[in-house]
């Protein structure tokens, strides 16, 4: 049995030996080098560009500017294409932009024989701008008279959606209700995959070929086709190993431009290898969202009415757009039960900052920080235990989402919280730390979350799988669902091994995707891999098995109904006897001179279901008040992501997510200069990604409830670990010091400001 076992990663050997090839490792050394000339104003119109000096630099092959590119706006978001016009992604940027909307916007591209010539040429280009006023804050950007980024979107509002369950105004009239209301702020952060985005392109066989560090090869194929105005079949995208993505590479980043530039130099190989600074400032970031939350509560703690207003900073271009804040608003509506009404308004607003896109957990880290902070504020005001207040109000067992039909089948929240409390000895510490004085104080805090699996019914959910039998009875497994570090290839192999009942090592996953060869699928995002890949793998494995057994009928002269495939052998189910090995069957199938057949199977599964994933974080901190520093002493995440396909890899996913959320809560933030709109800390020294010395032991635990809708009982795990730690830490600081921090990151600057307000320093 391969499922449920901590098999070693199928790609680990290559990755610990340096054999694993990433995009730059594959690029031919003859590649021409691309560098981008970027705007040095946050908002404006390029009036003219002078490339004359740059063109004189030896080694410069060609310079393409915003005056040269087609006027064909590009939708970059890594969403499945929609046949519904109203649901298609917003196309609001060109390959190079005359109307520049953030500091660092793409204005011109240099193609040169080497890096130094390209860099020198970029420095030698001069652009004249008509400068416009710029705006960095979404609430400012919404005001009348604010600088406008895109003509079609008045007041910079990309979208505004709202909902109302029940009647909010009526509900709050209930006598005796207590009202809690506050603003919460989340920061702009960046994915910081260690491999920067990189791609290279060339023309061959009537196609434009692009090798890219992407999570979504098939989607990028479509976007490149759209951007270049060519048929999608004339685009080929290859995705090798990638050095992390976390959602940033769930977007068409520079593949369209790189492909276009190749066509401008006669199809020669051109490579665009982004710098770290460009990756920070010019790819995508997580939406910074400001929330205003109001809750009306009975004195016993029962939530009666909830009101959410969310303002999401989109940055300069739409990318994934409103989907992020909308997803958070949806989570808000369901995490707790409001007996009277729940009302939400979500806005996505353009500003002159880097475009916000997908980032691990897509809007849920933001709302979880805000809402779980808010719930602790209510608990504190009511003198209630935070766990008790949650138990009173959290999503009930048996709840069904009317839209997705997701069902809360089990008592997952309580099961998770019990484990978290036990690990931390939470209740004891809660009392022990209740009334501290002195400069150094300890506290414990917690937070809960729910997360969707995959994107149905918002978007298409389908996965295609191909299995090809080899002469030795092993199989090749291909999916469009990509390995981006999370371990997808390994769990896919485990699933195929399980359903086919063949040894794990006899499943050869083709890790790289090539849109000319790989079956269609949308890629890695939305924690969909195990859930969606599971469906198509099981379906395809059963199809392959039926073909194997059908062939075996000829060889064994026994009916398919009497045959099964068990442990790599064709077995007679009546006698239990192994009749022949799959290897012998394969050799027959390949080489039998009477009846040769290459046995393969391929199928698509379209999912029309989704699944709630649940969990919590419990954390213990020590706050040195005069130093304005927080030390994390203990932290545990507990997840119900259904059944674990590979417990060791599941744990590793949780570690990484916790780390990301610790950074989100405590240290990370991309800053912009208010005077110029220039990013201030677009490098790994000034952007405070956690190091080995900034983390405690990260404890990952699980509750395994078999998810009924799922092929292998599993559901979302890739993103959920990145949701709740930040809020749990915030609540632990509140417990330790009595000081509520309503904005992340809770770095020393913020602690100093708040402690000073509270008279602690």
């Amino acid at each position: 049995m391969a499922v449920g076992v901590s098999e070693k990663r199928v790609d680990a050997f290559d990755k610990v030996t340096g054999r694993a090839k990433y995009t730059d490792d594959l690029a031919d050394k003859s590649a021409l080098i691309v560098k981008i000339f970027r705007s040095s104003v946050a908002h404006g119109l390029v009036k003219s560009i002078d490339t004359s000096e740059a063109e004189k630099i030896p080694g410069v092959v060609k310079i393409v500017t915003c005056f040269d590119v087609p006027d064909r706006p590009i939708p970059t978001a890594g969403h499945p294409w929609s046949l519904d016009l109203g649901h298609q992604d917003i196309a609001d940027r060109l390959l190079l932009n005359r109307h520049v909307r953030y500091y660092g916007d793409d204005v011109a591209a240099v193609i040169a024989q080497n890096e130094i010539a390209a860099t020198r040429a970029v420095r030698a280009i001069k652009a004249e701008y008509e400068e416009y006023p710029f705006v960095l804050d979404p609430l400012e950007a919404m005001k009348d008279g604010a600088p406008q980024l895109h003509e079609k979107f008045g007041n910079n509002i990309l979208a505004h959606t709202s909902y109302e369950d029940g009647n909010y105004e009526e509900a709050i009239k209930e006598p005796g209700l207590l009202r809690f209301e506050k603003w919460y702020d989340t920061p702009t952060v960046q994915h910081c995959h260690i491999e920067n985005h990189i791609c290279y392109a060339w023309e061959e066989a009537g196609k434009v070929n692009v090798v890219s560090s992407t999570q979504i090869p098939h989607i990028v194929r479509r976007v490149v086709g759209q951007a270049l105005g060519i048929e999608w079949g004339k685009v080929r995208i290859v995705k090798p190993y990638i050095g992390g993505g976390f959602g940033n590479k769930q977007d068409a980043l520079y593949e369209p431009l790189c492909a276009y530039l190749s066509t401008k130099v006669g199809g020669r190989l051109v490579k665009y290898d982004m710098t770290r600074e460009e990756t920070f400032a010019c790819t995508r970031v997580r939406h910074a969202i400001r929330y205003h939350i109001t809750t009306h509560v009975r004195p016993d703690g029962t939530f009666v009415a909830g009101r959410l207003e969310a303002f999401s900073n989109q940055g300069a271009y739409a990318s994934h757009g409103h989907g992020i804040v909308a997803k958070g608003a949806g989570a808000y509506r369901q995490l707790y039960c409001y007996r009277g009404a729940c009302k939400g308004d979500a806005y996505t607003i353009y500003t002159n900052t880097a475009a916000s896109g997908a980032m691990r957990a897509y809007g849920i880290p933001q709302i979880t920080f805000a809402l779980e902070s808010h719930v602790d504020d209510i608990a504190k005001a009511l003198g209630m235990e935070p766990v008790a207040l949650r138990r009173l109000n959290m999503m009930e067992v048996g709840y069904v989402d009317p839209f997705s039909k997701n069902e809360n089948y089990f008592d997952s929240f309580n099961q998770c919280m019990e484990k978290g409390m036990a690990y931390l000895d939470y209740e004891k510490k809660r009392k022990e730390y209740a009334n501290q004085t002195g400069p150094v104080r300890r506290g414990v805090g917690m937070a809960i979350f729910w997360y969707n699996t995959a994107v149905w019914p918002i978007s298409l959910e389908s996965s295609s799988c191909r299995m090809v039998l080899n002469q030795d009875g092993s199989i090749q497994l291909q999916l469009a669902e990509t390995e981006i570090g999370q371990g997808a290839d390994t769990v896919f192999a485990q699933m195929a091994s399980e359903t086919l009942s063949i040894p794990f090592e006899n499943v050869h996953v083709i890790s790289s995707q090539d849109t000319d060869i790989t079956p269609f699928g949308t890629g890695a995002y939305a924690s969909r891999q195990t859930y969606m890949g599971g469906f198509s793998i099981k379906q395809t494995a059963l199809l392959l098995k039926s073909r194997l057994l059908a062939y075996a009928q000829n060889v064994t002269r026994m009916p398919v109904s009497s045959l099964d495939l068990v442990d790599g052998h064709i077995v007679n189910v009546n006698s239990g006897r192994a009749l022949l090995s799959l290897k012998d069957l394969a050799l027959e199938a390949f080489y039998n001179t009477d009846r040769s057949e290459h046995i393969t199977a391929e199928s698509t599964y379209q999912a029309k279901s989704n699944a709630y994933s649940f969990g919590c974080t419990f954390a213990e901190v020590e706050v040195d008040i005069p130093l304005c520093k927080v030390k994390i002493l203990n932290i545990v995440n507990v997840h119900d992501c259904g059944m674990l396909i590979n417990p060791a890899l599941a744990e590793a996913q949780v570690h990484g997510g916790m780390s990301m959320s610790i950074g989100y809560g405590m240290s990370e933030q991309l800053l912009y200069d208010p005077k110029t709109g220039r990013p201030l800390n677009d490098n790994l020294l000034d952007y405070k990604l956690s190091t080995t010395m900034d983390h405690p032991h990260l404890e990952a635990q699980f509750v395994e409830n078999y998810e009924p809708t799922s092929a292998y009982g599993t559901k979302a795990l890739g993103e959920p670990p990145a949701t709740s730690p930040a809020a749990a830490l915030r609540n632990a600081i509140l417990h330790a010091t009595g000081v509520a921090l309503d904005a992340a990151p809770m770095n020393p600057h913020r602690l100093f400001a708040r402690f000073r307000e509270e008279g602690l320093v």
Partner: protein
């Protein structure tokens, strides 16, 4: 690829000096952890460079006959950190340079480069300032020595004349003997970071460990250059080993410093840290010197 116009590798100190004379605009490249980064940023692009990296004659730590500790400038942070002489004489310097960046940065970064770039946040600088280090430079006119107080002439500017090379950092016996020190690097991360504020303190106690015979307090990032806090020293010198003395010195430090607001930290926060770090570093230094608070 680094956009250098030319690279000249020096074969010796005199060779380096003559190369610098021949190429007046050339910059000195030691470990490169600072200069190469600036070169990549475009700040130094297209210039000429004289590399002294391979001059092993500029590596190492020794004790002179009079007890002066001589640190050669190309000694990497990691070598300074584990050098037995440094650990015996000025342990706090070993500890301070062990807080620079991360292990690989400490292997390439040099203590000489750390003070030649004139940066106020340099982890070695406040300790060297606190110990009244003497800087030895060699140039076309020969060797000269100057106190570190005269070395820093402004933010990012040091008293190196054209074609001169830092050839040693000296700490005299009277500067370290009998002193115990403590350095606090305050940063946003526990590794791979630059100081928001650095405070290096050392004290000498009376024989009975009851009185602060001498105290030296130095800061990084409390002003444009690493600096001493003379008022704080004054407030501690000759005073009893006590909470009150520490408190008085910590508060007095505020009069000596001049931090600024930047996006990295506000002036108010830095001032708060000036006081708090002095308090903690003084206590630790006194404890190390055998005093009890």
């Amino acid at each position: 690829m680094y956009d250098m116009k030319a690279l000249y590798e020096a074969k010796s100190v005199p060779d380096a000096i003559s190369l610098l004379q021949e190429h007046p605009g050339a910059r000195i490249l030691a470990g490169g952890s600072d200069v190469l980064v600036q070169l990549r940023e475009g700040k130094l692009a297209g210039l000429e460079f004289v590399s002294i990296f391979k001059l092993d004659e500029l590596r190492g730590v020794s004790l002179e006959q009079d007890g002066t500790m001589r640190i050669l400038p190309l000694t990497s942070f990691s070598h300074v950190a584990r050098d037995p002489i440094v650990n015996r004489c000025v342990r706090v310097l070993a500890e301070a340079v062990d807080k620079v960046g991360g292990p690989q940065v400490r292997n390439i970064g040099t203590i000489g480069g750390n003070i030649c770039n004139g940066v106020t946040s340099a982890d070695s600088a406040s300790t060297l300032v606190a110990y009244d280090a003497v800087v030895e430079v060699t140039g076309p006119e020969g060797v000269r020595q100057l106190p570190i107080s005269e070395w820093y002439v402004g933010a990012g500017k040091v008293a190196l004349r054209p074609a001169e090379l830092l050839t040693a950092i000296l700490i005299k016996k009277e500067s370290y003997e009998g002193y115990a020190g403590f350095y606090i690097k305050y940063a946003m991360r526990n590794a791979m970071d630059i100081a928001t504020l650095g405070c290096s303190v050392n004290v000498k106690l009376s024989g009975d460990k009851k009185t602060v015979a001498d105290a030296r307090v130095a800061y990084g990032v409390a002003g444009p250059v690493p600096m001493r806090a003379k008022s704080a020293e004054e407030a501690a010198r000759g005073k009893p080993v006590s909470e009150e003395t520490v408190e008085a010195a910590a508060q007095a430090a505020l009069a000596d410093v001049n931090p600024r607001t930047s996006w990295r930290a506000t002036k108010e926060f830095r001032l708060h840290l000036v006081e708090e770090l002095a308090r903690r570093a003084l206590k630790e230094a006194i404890n190390r010197a055998g005093g009890e608070i």
